[in-house]
Symmetry: C2
């Protein structure tokens, strides 16, 4: 869950300010969009546009802007990270809403007397338990770590790759009959990991927040194989919010279009390739983080295999959007870092131990550098 920082960093007293890396606010991407700026990405919406609830009455997803649908398909085809042919696209108010829509669409038609179990292998995205249970739904219920799941009957497994919080490329772990899968691929983009093949699953979720950095827009989308499931997801969004903001969809379409343009061979000179630029930033940050951690006996971060990326046509490591930092056994890592004015999310929130924390790698440069300075200082105190 997202919760505001008690204080924002200021330029005046950097040593007193609290750095909030608890949530994954993707402000790192501001630098790219400032350069690209006015020329490629401004959109203007006149007052008489998009008054209607409807964007496209002929479409199963009647509130989806045709332009956004087009740009989503174009981007996936170019990046090669998901199959879009013969898939229904459902737009959501961020992928959070689509997770709930998927749970509803999968569980409601079963008419089971008891709620369907929802599981994910630990460490799992910390919001899954809360999203699943906050309304005490009779349709679905959080049932914890997928590796410990042993109930009979239907279940839903959330499969996240690269995984939030730890960056691992995952596969389903339960693998039983009556299993239903929701693939959360928010981070399956070239800046974070090698694109090894186009994802091909029943329900796949993406979000602009993590792809382009536009978290404030609240735009996500699902690629759905089965028409009835897609219809049910649309139904959920209809009852929950009667569709998705048209302004946000139009802007997201414009942003995705710019990214696609930036990846063309004959692109404008002043438009740097978005994924190259973002991957370079991520690689630099991970290099700096590893240096800080290597010089420090207290901490450990996971290593990732090098794989060939079909999009960049080169070998690459995984550079996750979060660092899954581990302290020595028995230490409370979140508490330790909080003492040094670094707010992170405890491993306990992800179904793991207190020796772990999740740290956002997507903050602005100043914050990231200050974080590294302080992390190094923690070692200094304790070694």
């Amino acid at each position: 869950s997202v919760s505001p920082a008690p204080d924002e960093p200021t330029d005046h007293h950097p040593s007193d300010t609290i750095i909030n890396l608890d949530h994954g606010d993707p402000t790192m991407y501001e630098s790219y969009w400032k350069v690209v700026g006015q020329k490629y990405t401004s959109i203007t919406i006149p007052g008489f546009q998009s008054l209607s609830y409807f964007a496209n009455k002929k479409n199963l997803c009647w509130f989806l802007e045709p332009k956004l649908e087009e740009e989503i398909k174009r981007l996936h085809k170019m990046v090669g990270n998901a199959i879009v042919e013969n898939r229904h696209i459902v737009v959501g108010t961020g992928s959070s809403q689509l997770i709930l829509a998927a749970l509803y669409a999968l569980s409601d038609p079963l008419n089971e007397p008891n709620p369907i179990s929802v599981v994910s292998a630990a460490p799992y995205y910390s919001s899954y338990p809360e999203m699943t249970d906050f309304l005490r739904s009779g349709l679905f219920k959080w049932s914890g770590d997928a590796r410990c799941f042993n109930k009979e009957g239907p279940y839903i497994e959330m499969v996240t790759y690269p995984n939030n919080p730890d960056g691992v490329i995952r596969e389903p772990v339960v693998n039983r009959a009556n299993g239903m899968l929701v693939h959360d691929l928010a981070y399956y983009w070239p800046q974070y990991t090698a694109i090894t093949s186009p994802a091909d699953h029943d329900i796949i979720l993406f979000t602009v927040s993590k792809c382009t950095g536009h978290a404030g827009s609240r735009i996500g989308w699902a690629l759905v194989r089965n028409e009835n499931i897609a219809r049910k997801m649309v139904k959920f969004i209809e009852v929950n919010t009667i569709g998705v903001s048209k302004e946000a969809q139009l802007r997201a379409a414009n942003i995705l279009e710019t990214i696609s343009l930036s990846c063309q061979r004959h692109k404008p000179r002043d438009l740097e390739n978005f994924f190259e630029c973002s991957q370079r930033l991520m690689a630099e940050r991970w290099k700096k983080l590893r240096e800080a951690v290597d010089n420090n006996e207290l901490f450990y971060v996971p290593k990732f295999p090098i794989q060939f990326c079909n999009f960049t046509r080169d070998f690459t490591e995984t550079y996750p959007a979060f660092a899954w930092l581990k302290c020595k056994e028995g230490m409370d890592c979140e508490k330790l870092l909080r003492g040094h004015k670094i707010l992170t999310r405890s491993g306990r929130r992800f179904g793991s131990g207190a020796e772990y924390v999740r740290i956002s790698m997507l903050s602005r440069d100043e914050e990231f550098d200050l974080f590294l300075q302080r992390l190094s200082a923690v070692g200094g105190d304790n070694n």
Copy 2:
């Protein structure tokens, strides 16, 4: 609920096209915004703006754009339809999300073993039952017509004025201890009814969809007296959609600002007073509808008292956004009109009888005129 028309009206074969007045799509307002147009209401959003999840970390509602908050307050103060002093403003993805947020905020802290009853006096907004029950929540449960409610213990009553579907100015009907009220004031604006006093309740919901016509933006807001309730509503929106689209909020702020400007004594000459213009349109449509109904023995529409409006400083009728049309007893009005290619919503959906239908009065001019022609023809067939 909103569902797309099987066919949209075209200019080519008006006699074959189906007119969909089932949902309240407020396209009537396009004509005003086209005239005001580019000059006052275009907004431009550069690509680097609003990347963050946060709009205002210091605010209880951390995803609320400060500019939108300011314009909401300004408009309410000018119109005089709600007290904003010492109220918390919570923005939502339309008022649908805020209804759910309110139900959650009121029921969750009670820790009751059984779901809290949610009631509203019939005829009630047809979406209340579905919104309340679609996730089979253990927190709240639809319990039907408030006038028949006789259970002990806490309950939530939805109070809607002017009422959707029938335009009546309402008050709570249960009036028992442990009652909690949510006031849905989507239509408490000068184009629909006299503003007789500023609303002053615990939780009041508004939406731009019905105030300005921008239903595609999905922006609503709640005025909340109690801080803990407001925090809980924010929490709901955080878990449900991690906030509300910034683009939609910025545009809504711009639209509300233009409306406020249009009501100033020293307004620009080419900016017609929004509420005067909209009220004139509504009055004309209701006059035409009454003429069509008066010439027809089959149908009846309710009459409304004339009241003094503190905003327009004049006496006015209520001109509801929906016509609550009644057929002769024993007829199925929705079926009858469907036979004449007019889609409406049956009274049964609102907890009333099949002799009633709800008809949107907010369609585009062409559609409204075609509707009146066909309504007159129904009489011709049957008289």
